[in-house]
């Protein structure tokens, strides 16, 4: 187990390094002069060159990369062009919001998705299986931003139950926060919920056919014990593998949810920075996000290695 963990950590570090290179290249190699974009079309040649020197963008690319990477490793993600704040401070303000919505959505997806998948598998072919399968398919096909607008239309405008936008930290005012974040959290969780339900269902169907389940039943165990104690444990293993991918989708979905509900999170910051041509911020956000996802994948792989010993020896 230890060797497996070390191997996976080493792989993740390599991936993180490559990530930093890829992110840097995207922001610096693609056509589009960021300095011109910030200053606008009418800036004179001298002004452009002056700003370019000021921002250090006239140095050769490898030098810029090393300088940037050095800063990152020390916790300095640069300074925003638009607001002149340190990027790390901007991110520190926004990350908790995205985390709040994201983690709650993730937990909700698991809490509803796994039982739904189990029920669908156990009652296979019945009406509840069909219902759950249809809802899962819908959940994976629906555009998150549209769902947000639909939710606002019904629950805010027509029924007046929930506010349209705004964000309060749950530590400041719990009930207000709950009312404001209820829709975003539920809607964000739907896609992952659908995936989890589908995966749990197909994993359970796979496991229920196995011989050891037949043995358990033959032993006279109650059906509830057969399903929950024996089948579920094995079925959850493949489900864990999609949790890593699910996190990525959750992060992507949060960009839209934050936009529609006007929540001051990382996704919204990224979109705003793109429109401001603030590539320092965009670069930092992509790096942070990808690092979080890579770390989550690492944890998922380690958990997978713990639960399924066969994987450790590949």
């Amino acid at each position: 187990m230890g060797a497996y963990i070390v191997r996976r950590i080493a792989q993740t570090l390599v991936i993180l390094f490559l990530l930093s290179v890829i992110v840097f290249l995207i922001m610096h190699l693609l056509p589009g002069d960021p300095v011109r974009m910030i200053l606008g079309g009418e800036a004179s040649h001298e002004e452009v060159e002056m700003v370019r020197k000021e921002l250090g963008l006239d140095r050769p690319l490898p030098v810029q990369y090393v300088s940037w990477l050095g800063g990152v490793l020390q916790g300095d993600l640069g300074t925003s062009f638009a607001s002149k704040e340190k990027v790390i401070d901007l991110i520190k303000k926004r990350l908790p919001v995205s985390f709040h919505i994201g983690i709650c959505a993730f937990v909700l997806a698991l809490m509803i998705g796994i039982p739904a998948g189990i029920i669908a598998a156990v009652k296979r072919g019945g009406w509840i299986d069909s219902l759950i399968t249809v809802m899962a398919n819908l959940g994976m096909a629906v555009p998150v931003f549209w769902l947000g607008i639909l939710g606002i239309y019904f629950f805010s405008l027509k029924l007046g139950w929930l506010p349209v936008q705004g964000y309060t930290s749950p530590f400041d005012d719990f009930w207000k926060s709950l009312k404001q974040t209820a829709m975003p959290i539920v809607l964000l969780s739907l896609t992952t919920l659908a995936q989890v339900a589908r995966q749990t269902r197909s994993a359970m169907l796979e496991v229920i056919r196995q011989d050891y389940i037949r043995t358990a039943r033959a032993k006279g165990l109650k059906e509830k014990d057969v399903i929950l104690r024996h089948a579920l444990r094995n079925a959850l293993i493949p489900v864990i593998t999609i949790l890593g991918v699910g996190m990525g989708h959750l992060v992507g979905g949060s960009v839209f949810i934050e936009q529609v509900f006007n929540l001051p999170g990382m996704g919204r910051l990224m979109v705003q920075s793109i429109f401001n041509h603030d590539i320092v911020v965009v670069q930092a956000i992509v790096l942070v996000v990808a690092t979080v996802v890579a770390a989550a994948n690492l944890l998922v792989d380690i958990a997978y290695g713990y639960l399924d010993p066969r994987i450790r020896y590949r």
Partner: protein
Amino acid sequence: MSLEAQGVPPKINNMRRFFRVFLARTIVKISLAVLVIMILLALFAPIVAPYDPYAQNMANSLQKPSWDHWLGTDLLGRDILSRIIYGAQTSLLVGFVAVVIAGSVGMTIGLLSGYFGGILDTILMRVMDALIAIPTIILALAIGAMLGGGIGNVILALGIAIVPGYARLMRGQVLAVKQSDYIIAGELMGMSNIRNMLVHVLPNCISPLIVLITMNLGMAILAEAGLSFLGLGIKPPGAAWGSMVNDGYPYLLQNPLLSLAPGAAILIVVLAFNIVGDALRDALDPRLRGAK
């Protein structure tokens, strides 16, 4: 070694069995019909659409659904239904081109990586892993940020994001084939080269490739809609479903269909692609090959 010699029934049975399993459920037939209708709408948009999607008519601004305009009009008096029909062109175009480009590039990378192995393989696959770690939307946003909006850049951004899937698939198949007896025999006879590899690998690839393509098409359409919604994809006056949803947001009380109708179109099409993709995967399941 021919398939018949191994005791597998001849191909014609497989084809019939495939269609029987594939088309078994009604929902699959409906989804296929939806996709065909969408493709036809996109191809024949100029004939089918009742109005020019770009024709502005301020006198008709923000009308509710009526016999003249089945879904109403937007702020500039443009017919919503026509814009949705033309939007199908955008979605399909982006989806297909992105998938074709990503597929070609990805499969080439996978082929080279699997065939040559060694350090090239390690580097390429680590790069693919790094790409996968970045969520698709975020990656597409970052690339789009540098390139600007517009249909070409959206295609490029989406294409880059989905390359790793094809690379991994192809590489897996190449590695599997590389170990088979007939390749080793061929190498001993001095026959090995990349063309040979391709000839043997491609037939095995086809099934998972078709499933991957279908799933990616749905995902690409969803992603393009998302980018357009944020204002980074196809911008107005271009008729794209995502940007229509965004444009309609301020007018939810006057005519909710402005946002809800194009979104429903996205949902229906992506759902159809997903259902067909699932059915394809079930029908192509190698464990069922040769079964009754």
